[in-house]
Amino acid sequence: MSQFRYISPKTKEEVLKILEEEKSEACIVAGGSNVLPYIRDKIIPPKLLLDISGIEELNYIKKNGSNWRIGATTTISDLISSKIIREECNILCQAAEQFADPLVRNKATIGGNLADASPAADTAPPLLALDAGLEVESKGKKREIFLKDFFLGPRKTALQDDEMITGINFKSDSLNKPGCFIKLGLRQAMAISVVTVAMVLEIEENRVKDIRVAMGSVAPIPLRLFNAEEFLKNKHLNDDLIEEAKNKVYEEVNPISDIRASAEYRCYISGILFKRALEKLTNQTS
């Protein structure tokens, strides 16, 4: 630990300047709930730790018309205590409430959760289902990356060395309310997900008008299930159709076996959670 340098800039501009100079020599720390375990496990070698947790301008939850913007250092606890998230974007609230435990949630940020690019990142499936985009900045440059294009593999993202996530944005459209997030873990709290599903759905006369669905821990990256979505669009929902859609899910997911569950169980559960999300949302809307 003592070989690490540490700096805690107060503004975004400072961060971007340091990133430009240090590039991969710098390691952004937001809540540190991934970074600290990585340091202990020697996954991160001694570097400059660039603590962004104190940067006020990156901590916000805003809604302007139908445009949502969430700052990168917004913590998971911030999501839970936000009235507007609870009332108008409940899917994120559901994910936040099933995230780790209160202590970790106080530290963990939404930006860190996405930048860490774990297939099990709990905020990724709801944000994928919300069709979110990431606001990414480097010194003097801004760009936007769709979340669906952001994850490249476990712990691999489309971010360049000198870039940081500054915020997340998405639109509320007719789909966003209501949404459903289901997490299957091996205990009631502090569980890394075995499988998660996030779904937003619009039903018209028992017909799927539109649907977006994403899953966690079923592939090397948090996964949008485009084929299953396409398959269901414009169809009348019934038990047989759901069974068929489950088969589409099985085709799209590609989980691994690890200490928590086998690939077969994950695959099976992805079908079950997919069905449950559909059932829950149709019951709520009908």
Binding site: S2, D101, L186, R187, Q188, I192
Partner: protein
């Protein structure tokens, strides 16, 4: 027994305030000027030859004070002992090797030690030690390891370290009489103790050349073993025990004390060494996994006529407490049932897995999983109620244990606790969820408290009544967090008629407190409780005698309480305690006493057919649960948990309930989620991210029902509860899963995946 003033009352514990305020100094809350940091280099192979060890680079690193290998240890190989004073012979003593020499037996075995100015330097130095290994094939499955020609883990000619047997009646005849026979195999995994506080401490040398080791240990008597490793007289090593953040059997063996002693001895400086969580999981003992093959025979009316069991357990790489644990398993193998024909065989086998040793329950929970699952199967097969079949077969007062034949002359509460636990489940919970099925399960069991009688167990305690009426106690008792220390205070307060606030206790110091024996085997309430009672009563006798003289009444007419010596039935007639103390002191009457309590002594039994009294006494209990199983995901939720034990007498009901609740959750983790997964000797669950235990959010409603028969051997008729409390819950949960969804899980933990694979066979078969 309403005359008690302090005993039997749910009062705050002696240690409660300091713990609640965060003021208590645990082993890690301590440092000394100039203190060095110790690190252990652990083997990276589960089985390998050590060709060479080169410590040159490590020693050259600035800030490094010592790098030690097996060669530097005066007596690197000694015999495992656990504070017993009686000779017990070869069958129970195994090799204790401080640092790996020539060959490593498990991944994580200590190979070298480092002391340096900082933890980082110590870590860096450990990484600079060049160990040249030649990997060996190893053996990782106890059944494989038993076979002739198997890879030999140690230096002996067989991997089997002990074989125990027990039998009564005629097993062939028994099965011939049976009208139903059920046969099955059950498996239980390695589990970790998962205490909050990992293994560690600080050691230093004082001005008398004594090595002081301030450490969390359940067995401070290990000072002798450490002295023997160093080749020092016993009185040159001193343990200062601290309040512990959990022991659960994991601090019953020597943990890091020998390493601390060696490093401080070589450097002549204070040394601190604490295991990380990963080291704790990888390198220190685990609970024994067992493969248990059972066969039971019964009459159509449910009466048991025969039980045969073969138990095979995995000792891992070194024996440690394996023989003892397997003895417990053998004695417990037929459960709390009267069965005329019984035959048990137990084998314990070395493998190249992490070594196994004591873990709360000590060999009792494992067979309990098997026989209580079987009883349930039998009940379903014969269409008999789960409570009824147990009531029909369980041991009652005056009957004997079906393995050893030990007779129970005091109250056997089994029928009572079984009924109370089962009934307390109350009305079935309603669940709205269409995918959830409710199920209930019951299990009963017994477990000894107090050490095996052939160990000739004793405990001592010193009590002194000060001239101002306050009390000082000195006892070597280690407190694991179970309230052991506070219990002694309560007993002294009760007997001497003073409030808890006037008691001060010094504990767990091998130089200054009388040795109280180990805090293991659920023995402290019984053993040290009795020693304290004896010492306090001796002082009380002298006080009363003096008061009787002063008041000119018969001493039998006097009682002590509220700091007074009172004439029975006439509370207006009394002397203040202080006055009597003054009189005693004037006359030189001793108001201090060191007393020893002795448990019953027996001979070492014939290990091929263990019969007779092996344990002083047993605690009987029953647990019942209501759960829900999600038939689509396999997830189990425990909705209600009842735990009912005859605790004899609850000296502090709060502590007893705490044990019963905590023990239940400990066992619930065993049933549903805990497993140290080892693949060819490599631990795949090295942290609390993979090794999961229940969180507060997983804890259901727990109801603890205390039966107080007064029939125990402890003070005031108390029995032990620490270990028995966790030993029965697992099969209750398995039985509830069966009740809910008709699936019998025969290997712990009952994970959602195992349940779903059993429920949806057709889905998984094609994949």
């Amino acid at each position: 027994m309403s005359e008690f003033k302090i005993v039997g009352k749910p009062i705050p514990r002696e240690d409660a305030r300091a713990k609640a305020k965060g003021e208590l100094k645990y082993a890690d809350d301590f440092s000394l000027p100039g203190m060095l940091y110790g690190k252990v280099l652990h083997s990276k192979y589960p089985a390998a030859k050590i060709i060479s060890i080169d410590t040159t680079k490590a020693k050259q690193l600035p800030g490094v004070h010592a790098v030690l290998t097996a060669r530097d240890v005066p007596h690197n190989e000694t015999i495992t002992r656990f504070g017993q004073s009686a000779e017990v012979g070869k069958g129970f003593e195994g090799l204790y090797r401080v640092l790996a020499d020539k060959k490593v037996r498990f991944r994580g075995e200590a190979v070298a030690l480092v002391a340096a100015d900082t933890e980082e330097i110590a870590e860096e130095a450990a990484a600079l030690i060049e160990v040249n290994y030649e990997p060996l094939p190893g053996v990782f499955d106890p059944v494989e390891a038993m076979k002739p020609g198997a890879y030999l883990v140690g230096e002996g000619d067989s991997n089997i370290i002990c074989k125990f047997g027990c039998s009564q009646g005629d097993i062939k005849k028994g099965f011939a009489e049976a009208e139903v026979i059920i046969e099955d195999t059950y498996q239980v995994p390695f589990v970790d103790h998962a205490y909050l506080e990992t293994e560690g401490g600080v050691a230093w040398i004082d001005e008398k050349e004594v090595i002081n080791i301030r450490v969390g240990s359940q067995v401070i008597e290990h000072f002798r073993d450490v002295a023997e490793v160093l080749g020092l007289p016993h009185n040159q090593v001193r343990y200062i025990g601290t309040m512990m953040g959990g022991g659960f059997g994991g601090k019953e063996d020597i943990t890091v004390e020998t390493y601390l002693a060696l490093l401080t001895w070589k450097t002549k400086k204070p040394v601190r060494l604490f295991y990380t969580r990963e080291e704790s999981i990888l390198c220190h003992s685990k609970r024994h996994p067992f493969i248990m093959h059972y066969k039971v025979g019964a009459k159509k009316d449910g009466r048991l006529v025969a039980l045969e069991a073969e138990l095979i357990s995995d000792a891992g790489a070194y024996p440690y407490l394996s023989p003892w644990v397997n003895l417990y398993a053998t004695v417990n193998a037929a459960g709390p049932y009267c069965i005329p024909n019984v035959k048990i065989n137990t084998y314990c086998v070395l493998t190249n897995n992490t070594f196994t040793s004591a873990n709360r329950g000590f060999g009792a929970p494992q067979p309990n999983v098997a026989y209580e699952s079987l009883m349930d199967e039998l009940a379903y097969k014969l269409k008999i109620d789960p409570l009824e079949i147990r009531r029909k077969n369980c041991i009652t007062t005056g009957k004997s244990l079906s393995t050893t034949g030990q007779v129970f002359n005091t109250y056997v509460a089994l029928p009572e606790v079984a009924e109370k636990a089962w009934k307390a489940l109350g009305e079935t919970k309603k669940v709205e969820d269409k995918n959830k099925r409710i199920g209930r399960g019951l299990a009963i069991g017994l477990m000894s408290y107090g050490r095996m009688t052939f160990l000739h167990d004793t405990s001592r305690c010193y009590v002194r009544l000060e001239s101002d009426g306050s009390v000082l106690i000195r006892s070597g008792i280690p407190d694991l967090g179970g309230g052991q220390v506070s219990l002694l205070c309560q007993i002294a307060a009760e007997e001497l008629g003073v409030p808890m606030s006037k008691i001060r206790i010094y504990y767990s110091d091998t130089a200054l407190t009388p040795l109280a024996g180990t805090t293991t085997a659920t023995r402290q309430t019984y053993m040290s409780g009795n020693a304290t009672l004896k010492a306090a009563r001796e002082i009380k006798k002298r006080i009363i005698q003096k008061a009787a003289e002063m008041m000119n009444v018969n001493p039998e007419k006097l009682v002590i309480g509220e700091e007074k010596i009172i004439v029975k039935y006439d509370s207006a007639q009394y002397l203040p305690l202080l006055e009597v103390i003054k009189a005693c002191n004037t006359e030189g009457i001793e108001l201090f006493c060191e007393a020893q309590f002795k448990g019953p002594f027996t001979m070492v039994p014939d290990l091929s057919n263990i019969r007779g009294t092996i344990f002083p006494d047993f605690t009987f209990g029953a647990q019942a649960v209501e759960i829900s199983v999600d038939i689509e995901t396999g997830q189990v939720e425990v909705l209600k948990l009842v735990t009912c034990y005859d605790v004899g007498k609850a000296i502090n009901p709060l502590s007893v309930e705490g044990q019963m609740e905590g023990g239940s959750i400990y066992g619930m983790g065993y049933a549903l989620m805990e497993e140290v997964v080892m693949e060819k000797g490599v631990t795949l669950t090295p942290s609390f991210s993979e090794y999961i235990i229940p969180t507060a959010a997983d804890v259901p409603e727990v109801e603890a029902i205390l039966v107080e028969s007064g029939g125990g051997l402890g003070p005031y008729g108390a029995k032990g509860i620490g270990e028995p409390s966790c030993s029965i819950i697992a099969p209750a949960i398995l039985n509830a899963i069966y009740d809910a969804v008709g699936v019998r899980i025969k290997s712990l933990p009952a994970t959602p995946e195992k349940i779903i694979r059993a429920l949806k066979k057709h889905y998984f078969e094609g994949r």
